[in-house]
Symmetry: C2
Subunit: 209 residues, 2 copies
């Protein structure tokens, strides 16, 4: 017999954090925060539970890394891309909501983690804070700016831009919550693309000057 060529583990300091964060995103999206098991995250990342604590202080710290390193980089470009467009308001807002719907369709884990934040923020306020700072405020601020710019150009009726922003994105978010929460127990699915189109036709018909 030659020596056993099968090491029990490898030392891969550089790759571990990314792999752990990726596994954590999957498990948090599937189970929520409290119900996510660190043993399972470790198993999926191919390490032992103890190794998690070499790279992250606590479970909340790991969640912060998930939002900061993976979720936020997916969401931010949606709003920023719209803000950077130099086009009539109607074109910009249609692009923005279309991209948002596309993102929520292409990676269901984003919506799933949003659900987690909503559902567990009372027991873990830190989750709400993390989400607010990394995802929500950048998105809302940019969106509000786009609407205000439309008003300054005389394209959009007067009114609180922030409330208009809720009017635009509310139905999209609710349709995502519907899909994640009630479709699995038999509710009729919603066609988000059509919802966005019909909603914008309705709102813009009344909102544009």
């Amino acid at each position: 017999m030659t020596e056993s060529p099968l090491p029990k583990f490898r030392r891969r300091k550089a790759e571990r954090p990314g792999e752990i964060v990726a596994a954590a995103l999957d498990v948090f999206a599937e189970k929520g925060f409290a119900a996510a098991r660190l043993d399972e995250i470790a198993r999926r990342a191919g390490v032992s539970k103890g190794a998690l604590y070499l790279y992250f202080e606590t479970k909340e710290d790991l969640f912060r890394a998930v939002v900061h390193d993976v979720v936020a980089p997916k969401v931010r470009p949606v709003a920023e891309g719209a803000a950077a467009m130099d086009a009539p308001f109607e074109v910009v807002i249609r692009a923005a909501l279309g991209r948002l719907a596309g993102l929520l369709n292409s990676d269901r884990r984003v919506g799933a983690v949003a659900k987690v934040v909503i559902g567990e923020s009372r027991n873990f306020p830190e989750l709400a804070r993390i989400w607010k700072e990394n995802v929500l405020l950048p998105g809302i601020t940019t969106m509000t700016g786009v609407i205000a710019r439309g008003q300054a150009r005389g394209e959009v009726k007067p009114g609180d831009p922030r409330l208009y922003a809720f009017g635009f994105i509310g139905p999209v978010l609710v349709s995502m919550l519907w899909r994640e929460t009630f479709v699995p127990v038999g509710a009729e699915p919603i066609d988000v693309e059509r919802l966005v189109e019909q909603h914008l036709d309705a709102v813009l018909g009344g909102l544009l000057t």
Copy 2:
């Protein structure tokens, strides 16, 4: 010494279930489903944990009673009241959304339990089923009927009434989630009444024929 005149407990078979359900609503609204402790529900209801199991089979069974006996009776009249109105569509929809906003403002536990359902449905699908059947389907069905009636009367543009329903209630629900989730960690509050007014002005301006 005479005999101790202070009984350790009273036998109150008729009142117990209602008191337990009321306590359970409070605790579920505060902590969520998984994190709600049966000991605490029992304590607030003035009984021992064992007594809970004289009236309810499991924790999920208790949650079902909360939704069926307390939450649904608060929500159903909102939609049904609107459906029963014989008035122009604009009046009916304004009344419906106004009452919904009023309900969510007057008893925050309703919104809090909705959050619980959203956040924990993946781990406890039964919660979603209970909410869907007791709250959601009655509400959506009635709402869709109101919109379809408006279309039949020629007051509302053509289009899928169900998608319009999401367009109407989406912003209200999102503002409730915002209040429950992010205002406690420092986000700017929203004036729901104004949101409803401004949103309806915008949508109806484009939606009415």
